[in-house]
Symmetry: C2
Subunit: 302 residues, 2 copies
């Protein structure tokens, strides 16, 4: 599976019977990632069929309760249910201290390794990479330190053109060199690499931006992402409230998507005042057509 | 309403789609009390129609995650939704520190007063009383410091016998004195108080015992309670597991109820291995007939 995103919780501030608080599950090239972990996330994961013992990484955007309070119970349940596999948690300063303090006070000893990576950056910064994935954090504009994330496929090798293998009788050793960028020599003549190879497949990317007020700089950092999740806590009718609380309106989320030239915008983190998302959808779509209001349990596959 | 108990969560250790983790709502003579507050309690309260802003007291039995992790989110939601009324939290040492530490790190300032009462006792101890209610804590036998609670109506005034008012032409001032225990004098003769009054109505009491292994001493402390909630994490088939984890079997819960001569036993805190409670019900009822296995949302009115 190259890319599957599951919306685990799509509400703001307070969990309701309609929406859990923020959490998303991302399977990106078999890297199993949880983004944010509001209260009740472990139960929502069960509800939507995500096996939490298989999670490898957790990314926490900021330390407001509706984005991280579920992590204590999730870790406790992982432990109780016999986890031994290492887990890596990325989050702002304070998260590790809080988790370790709680385990200490409640006399919990984990049977699996927990690694913390504290995020602290003032611009877009690479915080993780492996063979297939790069993950960047970048600052958002909220009331407290808060980070957005960009999950991106790593540049792949160019694919060799099979017709050219035949035409030039390219050997196995040469194929390997060509895939890695070398040109080919035949009869004293150089055949350049881009005549022998095809461009690599499109590199998928997903940007996660919550919580934040409209912050144009972020558009540059996520330019051209295939999918952007951006918070839309309010509609333009509550613009004052959005400003005061450092949140975005649906129109602002759409403006950011447009500016960033993303392909598809998901909006969520809706205030509990909205029992229907029709108004938010209309408001955002007027600015950026390809907008979806998410619901808990929604899946997006790229 | 003299007494209403709502089971908010009845499962052990890990919340499942069938059962939340431990929490109960008790309205006892209009005192609105939450007992334990596992993760997800705020949402379960919504689900079962309990208005959490009206809670006045929270009692936390012990600091295992499935009994208290929901308190952070509950307090945050109370604050976000505009609470100004004072809240009093009773719990073991460490709870206050953990809550204050978390608010400090996440820069939350509460707009309502939070009072902490740390419980620490080695025998049955009065921890709260007002005009109508007495609440006792007593130690249980678990892996960590853990308390049971006894909620009890306060001894009431005796009721004056209306026939006697007429017979002796008792004045208003005399009625007040008689209700408070005085005898009456008529023609130089003393009419004793118990000839003028009727015994007060039965004093309701509710005992909450979780988590604990079978602990006979507790039976003395809750003697004759109208209602006892006792944990029954396991059946006798998992007796070894119960011993190792300091939990009770259904038969042990029933034995405690029998020993304590309570009227009605509720069992809960069932391990997630039980998809049906039939076995636990049969096991307990064989020892103590008036046993009910609770489900989330169950209400008990006395």
């Amino acid at each position: 599976m190259p890319f599957k995103l599951v919306i685990i919780g799509s509400g703001a501030a307070v969990p309701t019977l309609q929406r859990g608080v923020t959490s998303q599950y991302l399977n990106f090239n078999e890297r199993r990632i949880l983004i944010d972990c509001g209260e009740g996330t472990q139960l929502q994961l069960r509800k939507y069929g995500v096996r939490f013992q298989r999670l490898q990484y957790i990314f926490i955007s900021h330390l407001h309760g509706d984005h991280f309070l579920g992590i204590f119970g999730l870790l406790a349940s992982m432990n109780l249910l016999g986890r031994t596999q290492k887990l890596i948690i990325f989050g702002p300063d304070g998260l590790e201290k809080m988790i370790r303090f709680q385990f200490e006070l409640t006399k919990v000893t984990l049977d699996f390794e927990l690694e913390f990576q504290t995020i602290h950056c003032k611009t877009k910064t690479l915080i993780f990479e492996d063979r297939v994935l790069e993950i960047f954090a970048f600052p958002l504009k909220h009331r407290i330190e808060c980070y957005g994330f960009l999950f991106k496929e790593k540049p792949k090798e160019r694919n060799i053109d099979k017709d050219q293998i035949e035409k030039y009788a390219i050997s196995l050793a040469e194929i390997w060199a060509v895939k890695n960028g070398s040109d080919l020599e035949r009869d004293g003549k150089i055949i350049p690499n881009d005549q022998l190879t095809l461009p690599p497949a499109h590199l998928l990317s997903y940007a996660f931006c919550t919580d934040t007020r409209y912050y144009e700089k972020a558009a540059g950092w996520i330019k051209g992402a295939d999918l952007l999740y951006h918070e839309a806590t309010f509609s333009e009718k509550q613009l004052d409230r959005a400003k005061a609380t450092h949140h975005s309106t649906a129109a602002q989320a759409a403006a950011l998507a447009k500016k960033a030239e993303v392909r598809h915008l998901l909006i969520g983190h809706f205030s509990a005042r909205f029992t229907s998302t029709a108004e938010l959808k209309a408001e955002a779509s007027a600015v950026f057509e390809n907008t979806t209001c998410v619901e808990d349990g929604d899946e997006f596959v790229l």
